[in-house]
Amino acid sequence: MLVVPWSDEIVRGRNAVIRHLVQTGRMPSHSQLAGDLSLSEAATRSVLRQMHDVHAVLLGGQDQIRMLWPFSDLPTPFQVTVGDRSYWANCAWDSLGIPAALHTDAVIRAAFADSPGEALITVKDGKVSPGHYLVHFPHPVRRWYDDLVYT
């Protein structure tokens, strides 16, 4: 299921994606990433595919970066605001993952799956509120990598 430790090339590529993502809230384009890595776009795509193969990122159509956990490149029902910057999380769990990864306070707007409205969740001073809502994990962990978008 997991291939670790990741190669130096994968770690370097992933760190470049993270730098861009944290600064802008979006995943880098191939040309932006190629510039950051001082590689050709073809070589950059090759690195991205290696990253995809070990689940360091999830690539979508035309090898665009769709996920770097806990972040999503596409809008989702889970929006995380940190200061004056907003990020999209892949799922309800990942909406907590973003402030955990950034080690910061955050405000999360998350849609309920089976009722109208949305939750306004705050992470402040190391605590989450409200804490009683539930996140449902429908699939066992060993199946998470069968279909990462669905999971």
Binding site: M1, L2, L96, A100, A101, A113, L134, V135, F137
Partner: protein, 71 residues
């Protein structure tokens, strides 16, 4: 993973959608797990996590049922 107000809502959702009923975790507990799961994820030295490391994180938060078995 989706957000619900209660177990009753999860039951209604699984019945309506045909999705499997798995396990649920409160935001309070999940936040503590998130700090362990994602806290080092943006570190420049992060190189992924072995199955054994994944199991250790889940075990530390009492997630030890078959649902959380890694392989």
């Amino acid at each position: 993973m989706l957000l619900f107000r209660s177990e009753e809502e999860i039951d209604a959702w699984t019945k309506r959608t045909g999705e499997p009923k798995g396990e649920s975790v409160s935001l309070e507990r999940l936040w503590e797990l998130s700090k362990a799961w994602y806290g080092d994820r943006l570190s420049p030295t992060y190189r992924g996590r072995t199955n054994e490391q994944v199991k250790a994180v889940f075990d530390a938060f009492g997630l030890t049922s078959e649902h959380w078995r890694v392989k």
